[in-house]
């Protein structure tokens, strides 16, 4: 029996298994891993004192189960596939609610953003909660505050000499004391922007 061709067969068999284990990866990425493993086999083979069935199988065993290698590659694949859609998510969450300030439509964009956010594998649960709760509607609450009817106060005083002065005040529109209104304004602006930056951080490798 020709040992050299038996080795080649064992290696071909291994690479075919690896190829099929990597099946879900894009071809370019699959081929790159296959090329490098093939080179690795070549390097290892050149170092063998004796090339026979057992030394070749030991070499392939050190390289590992095709499924193990594919698993290492596959976790990343999932992230990459949805990466393009993920890029939209922070912006949808920030801006997607705003049209509902002008038109009495639901903040469809924001709702879509939340859906994509929760479907994504890029973010962890804590990120998803931040994305959803800080703040619902994104910049919508800020914009609503910006375009709200201006609050007004009107006061009437009744009274005269000897009579206690009584003042009646009525408010119309949404009144906010500057001490509340200004911080609120800032929070409604900063919180959604914070969420945008938070979600756009570099994802931790999964």
């Amino acid at each position: 029996m020709n040992t050299r061709s038996a080795s080649d067969l064992a290696i071909d068999h291994y690479l075919a298994e690896l190829d099929s284990a990597l099946g879900s990866l894009p071809a370019s990425r699959r081929n790159q891993i296959l090329d490098e493993v093939r080179e690795h086999i070549g390097e290892g083979r050149a170092l063998l004192d004796v090339e026979d069935e057992s030394s070749i199988s030991a070499l392939l065993e050190r390289i590992g189960e095709p499924e193990t290698i594919a698993a290492e590659a596959g976790a990343v694949h999932e992230v990459d596939e949805s990466r393009r859609r993920d890029a939209w998510v922070p912006w949808l969450l920030l801006l997607g609610g705003i049209p509902s300030a002008a038109f009495w439509l639901l903040g469809i964009g924001w709702i879509l953003g939340v859906g994509f956010l929760w479907a994504s594998v890029r973010w962890r649960l804590s990120d998803k909660l931040i994305g959803t709760l800080v703040l619902p509607g994104g910049l919508l609450p800020f914009v609503l505050l910006l375009v709200r009817p201006v609050g007004a106060n009107s006061c009437e005083s009744h009274g005269g000499p000897g009579v206690p002065t009584v003042t009646h005040c009525t408010s119309s529109g949404l009144m906010l004391a500057p001490a509340i209104g200004i911080p609120l304004f800032i929070v409604l602006l900063v919180a959604p922007v914070f969420t945008l930056l938070w979600l756009r951080r570099d994802p931790h490798s999964t």
């Binding site: 690896l18 990425r29 790159q32 891993i33 490098e36 493993v37 080179e39 690795h40 070549g42 390097e43 290892g44 050149a46 050190r62 390289i63 590992g64 189960e65 193990t68 290698i69 290492e72 590659a73 990343v76 490798s205």
Partner: protein
């Protein structure tokens, strides 16, 4: 401290590996460029860092996509040309961040573990 429950493939160990092995690869490249086989053998021989030699290739591909390493082909004396990996500037930065954080992490974990064994 001895672990009372033997387990073959604990999830925490896989996570610990996963979080650190990429930076170990970066650290191996600090002294200069190396080729895949060499990196794989070194990591596998160090023990426990990679599941098997072949798993380094998806890992290297990931580092390359993230711009932390780059490759060049070099002629080799004894065989076909080799694909050499080297650190990029971003890779060197990522590594020094990791070293900094790792030291803090290690100190924190040790301080808790030592507290525990003293009690």
């Amino acid at each position: 401290m001895r672990c009372m429950v033997p387990s073959n493939d604990p999830a925490w160990l896989a996570q610990l590996r996963r979080g650190s092995v990429e930076h170990c690869v970066l650290a191996l490249l600090r002294q200069g460029e190396r080729y895949g086989f060499d990196l794989a053998r070194t990591l596998a021989d160090t023990g426990g860092l990679i599941a098997s030699e072949g798993t380094i290739y998806p890992l290297l591909a990931r580092l390359r996509r993230n711009g932390l390493v780059e490759t060049t082909w070099r002629e080799s004396v004894e065989g076909p040309p080799r694909r050499y990996y080297r650190l990029t500037e971003d890779g060197a930065l990522a590594l020094s961040d990791f070293i900094h954080e790792w030291k803090r992490f290690q100190v924190a974990v040790n301080s808790i573990l030592e507290q525990d064994s003293a009690a």
